[in-house]
């Protein structure tokens, strides 16, 4: 039986649809209303408030905390500045991804790490020889994602923290009412947004403050269905959908390297030994087998396929996650990969997908064929390979009053 997050009294009261799913052993709202589109538009036009408590959260403290995390992560965490956050992944000795998440540096010797899978056991395997205290605070700290164009304005109503100065992937402590929370300018929507970390005891107070102050800014509680659309638009991968945890993948073929899941940019190779270094070094030299890429489906072909059956074109009601074969041509002569998740993007008005494709076919702008079922018959439609980031509004990274960052 899943357990309830500290926000459950509020989220349950608001969840008209009774539409829940299980997320990491918690009840999690899929959509508050029967259909998630109002929640999606809240993310994109106002603000959506999402309970992200089910994420796993770790505190890593101690003299060797930075060295310890650098040994585990593909990124050189010792280079991370205080008050900054990085997104990265961590690998097995063979350079296969275990999980991905964010690492926040709150102090010289104080880090906060989030992950999708439980990773306490994995992290603790590397503790020998490091002066570091690793603590699982998953069930002590609750999380909220406040995402959308008005999110900064809402937060400013409840705290005096310098949010105008807080840059993308920055983190700060903030006093809210009479308690302290941590704010990080991060999120899974690819939009302006914040993630708020708060002790369980203060969780409801925080929720209430945000909802009250947010009402003037179009806030809405949002569920995972809406999030799923935004994350595909933002080109953000999801564990167990777009790749598998190498520790749980049943066969080696299901394991992926960071290079294969579009996280190659996060790998810092030339430094002290870290998990997977040797394997990643040689993969870098020899090239990877797979890549995760973006696909934009050809709308005219889709419309044409439906027209054949006398149907108007249909778009998927929600983001999908299943494996769909990707072919080199219409004759299906060779399968060159598979799409793993996709959605109709209401804002782009495009049918988009994330796909794993053989590296040699991964050329932006080139065309492949994706299986597409209409009226029980498997057809293919043309899909153009694109960058994974389909939607990337300027507000995501910009700060009012600060010099504009380069995208």
């Amino acid at each position: 039986m899943p357990i309830k997050s500290p926000f459950h009294p509020r989220t349950a009261a608001l969840c008209e649809s009774m539409n829940y799913k299980e997320w990491a052993g918690y009840y999690a709202v899929s959509s508050y209303l029967v259909h998630h589109d109002m929640e999606y538009f809240a993310f994109r036009n106002a603000s959506g408030l999402l309970d992200i408590t089910p994420l796993f959260k770790y505190s890593v403290k101690g003299k060797d905390a930075a060295r310890f995390l650098s040994r585990i992560m593909v990124r050189d965490i010792s280079k991370l500045k205080i008050g900054r956050v990085t997104y990265c992944c961590w690998c097995t000795a063979d350079g296969k991804v275990v999980d991905d998440g964010t690492v926040m540096r709150r102090g010289e010797y104080d880090f906060f790490v989030t992950s999708a899978d439980p990773c306490f056991s994995w992290f603790s395997r590397f503790q020998r020889g490091y002066d570091v205290e690793l603590k699982d605070i998953s069930e002590e700290v609750a999380g909220l994602a406040l995402q959308g164009p008005t999110s900064r304005d809402i937060l400013k109503q409840i705290t005096d923290a310098p949010l105008d100065q807080l840059k993308y992937f920055g983190t700060t402590e903030a006093l809210v009412a009479d308690f302290i929370i941590h704010i990080s300018r991060t999120g899974y929507t690819g939009d302006l947004g914040y993630e708020l970390w708060v002790d369980h005891e203060q969780a409801l107070k925080l929720w209430d403050l945000i909802m009250v102050e947010g009402s003037a800014y179009g806030i809405r509680p949002a569920g995972l269905d809406a999030l799923d659309v935004t994350r595909v638009e933002a080109g953000l991968i999801l564990k167990d959908v777009d790749y598998y945890n190498a520790l749980h993948a049943f066969i080696d073929d299901r394991k992926s390297s960071p290079y294969e899941i579009a996280l190659g940019w996060a790998v810092n190779l030339d430094r002290d030994p870290f998990n997977g270094q040797r394997a990643l070094r040689s993969e870098k030299e020899e090239g990877s087998k797979w890549a995760i890429t973006g696909l934009v489906l050809d709308w005219d072909e889709i419309e044409g396929l439906y027209a054949r059956y006398g149907l108007p074109p249909e778009v998927p009601g929600m983001a999908w996650r299943k494996s769909i074969p990707l072919y080199v041509n219409k004759a299906k002569e060779k399968q060159i990969g598979y799409a793993t998740s996709g959605t109709w993007s209401p804002i782009l008005k495009k049918n988009i997908a994330l796909a794993t494709i053989e590296e040699k076919y991964n050329k932006v702008g080139s065309e492949v064929e994706l299986e597409f079922t209409v009226e029980h018959v498997r057809h293919t439609v043309k899909a153009t390979i694109s960058k994974t980031q389909f939607y990337n509004p300027e507000r995501k990274r910009s700060n009012p009053g600060l010099k504009k960052d380069k995208p």
Binding site: A93, R128, G129, P273
Partner: protein
């Protein structure tokens, strides 16, 4: 900086010296670094009381491989080796004793004095050992086949072993396959009826294996011991180490004692670059052979991020729960055996399987045995002042004693050992000058062996087939240029010189 040495050997024990000599003999420039002031490791000659010396922590040299002695021409360096293992006197509680000698007929007739059928069975038993010997010695005296890759060569090597097994003949092979996984108690019960005879024969199968005679697979340990215990070295461990030292030096090996390696240095690519010694001096070499325990080699000499997790996991889960203590006794005067007219050189106690099993039960719960099994060695040669030394390996006393090793537990163990020992030896005509008790914790600290395990790791099937761990079973390791060749490597512990010798053979192939 130029590389002065082709190979640096960490540890100047019997294996380190053997490897160094074998390598130097093939023209390699070798440096041996030994942390203690005397060479020999577990076979080293140590003054434990003024004028009294213990001839090795391990005292049995009967398993030293004759072919290694021949190849290194140790006889040229003063070693006196004979192809008949020394007699071991099995001692029973009720005053009976049997001398197991290398001479099967003589032993059988002595056994017949207790039981006609056991006498007959001993001949059959010895024949069985003789019959399976070609297979087991092939297994134990060669670099093991590669079980990490399955190419044609590896399969051929495996096929060769399989063929050796088939070559024993159908009857012997089937019998071997039947008995090898058995517990040694079942196996010996099928042959013999006299309890203390069975117990005495089985004892070597139990040493250092963290099992009792009722545990499966102990027969395999026994068979391995029986097939390799073949020689007598006059002067025991000291004579062996002296000859090895001479041979090593004669072949140009540089030996530094009192110099403990601090760490192994790797280059940017993770390959061996050299070692850092106790003076923080760097000795450069592209190859390092460690004869220390696998745990020390990987966990002490390398930084945590220099070995990957699967390797660290395997090494930390390599089982080496020390269960053996040692008591060295310095006496003046005459010691007498209560069982035999003549004082024996090697004696073994343990009256029945149950007694050994019960002695073992204790360590499972972190206690030492109420009635330990003793492996007694009385070298017989008098000390300069006319005294005698009795050396006793004591089974079982755990490394992790639940009450902790302190004055009271130490004296408790010592008393227990003496009580047991006095059942077999008569001290009334002599004075005990000094007793030195080495618990597994002391053994760890004085000899630098992890958990004080006398074999650098338990003799258990999985740790025999691929010793110490699959990735390092053929002496090379995942760290390029780093080799291991101590008792924690194939074919295992005891004074055999085999791991050192075979690791040298392997290094020569690189």
């Amino acid at each position: 900086m130029g590389k002065k040495y082709d190979v640096i050997v960490i540890g100047g024990g019997h294996n380190g010296l053997t490897a160094a000599t074998a390598l130097a003999k093939k023209g390699k420039k070798v440096l041996v670094l030994e942390k203690n002031k005397t060479l020999g490791g577990l076979a080293s000659y140590r003054e434990f009381h003024p004028d009294y010396f213990s001839n090795g922590l391990l005292q049995d040299t009967s398993c030293v491989r004759k072919q290694i002695v021949d190849d290194l021409q140790l006889e040229k360096y003063g070693l006196n080796i004979r192809s008949e293992r020394p007699s071991v006197t099995l001692l029973s509680k009720n005053g009976k004793a049997i001398r197991l000698s290398g001479d099967v007929k003589a032993t059988a007739s002595e056994i017949s004095g207790f039981s006609q059928s056991d006498g007959k069975a001993y001949v059959e038993y010895s024949n069985f050992i003789k019959n399976i010997s070609p297979f087991l010695t092939a297994l134990l005296n060669e670099v093991p086949p590669d079980l990490m890759n399955f190419g044609t060569w590896e399969l051929l090597a495996l096929g060769k072993l399989g063929w050796k097994l088939k070559g024993l003949g159908k009857k012997t092979m089937n019998e071997f396959l039947k008995v090898a996984p058995m517990c040694v108690a079942d196996f010996l019960n099928e042959h013999f009826e006299t309890d203390f005879l069975k117990a005495g024969i089985c004892a070597p199968a139990i040493y250092g294996s963290f099992t009792g005679p009722w545990s499966s697979y102990t027969t395999l340990n026994l068979l391995m011991h029986e097939c390799t215990s073949r020689v007598r070295i006059e002067g025991g461990p000291k004579a062996l180490i002296d000859a090895l030292e001479k041979a090593a030096k004669n072949h140009g090996v540089t030996v530094e004692t009192n110099n403990a390696v601090q760490r192994i240095q790797l280059d940017k690519n993770g390959s061996v670059h050299g070692v850092v010694d106790s003076n923080e001096d760097v000795h450069a070499s592209a190859m390092v052979l460690s004869t220390c325990t696998p745990q020390d080699t990987f966990l002490k000499f390398l930084s945590p991020n220099e070995i990957d997790y699967p390797l660290e996991h395997d090494i930390t889960h390599y089982r080496s729960r020390g269960t053996t203590a040692k008591l060295n006794i310095a006496v003046k005067g005459n010691i007498r055996s209560r069982h035999t007219n003549q004082l024996f050189e090697y004696g073994r106690t343990g009256n029945s399987f149950d007694e050994i099993e019960k002695a073992f039960d204790a360590v499972k719960y972190g206690r030492y045995s109420d009635e330990p099994i003793l492996d007694i060695h009385i070298p017989g040669s008098a000390t300069p002042s006319g005294g005698q030394v009795i050396s006793v390996l004591v089974h079982f006393g755990p490394y992790e004693l639940r009450e902790g090793w302190n004055e009271s537990s130490r004296s408790g163990l010592e008393k227990t050992i003496m009580n047991t020992l006095e059942g077999y030896l008569d001290f009334s005509d002599c004075t005990i000058v000094h007793k030195e008790l080495l618990t597994p914790v002391d053994i760890e600290s004085s000899y630098g062996i992890t958990n004080g395990h006398i074999y650098h790791g338990e003799h258990a099937v999985d740790q025999i087939i691929t010793r110490p761990i699959p990735k390092c079973a053929r002496y090379d390791t995942p760290v390029k240029g780093l080799f291991i060749g101590g008792s924690g490597s194939h074919p295992g512990g005891g004074i055999t010189c085999a791991p050192g010798y075979l690791s040298a053979q392997r290094i020569l192939k690189f």
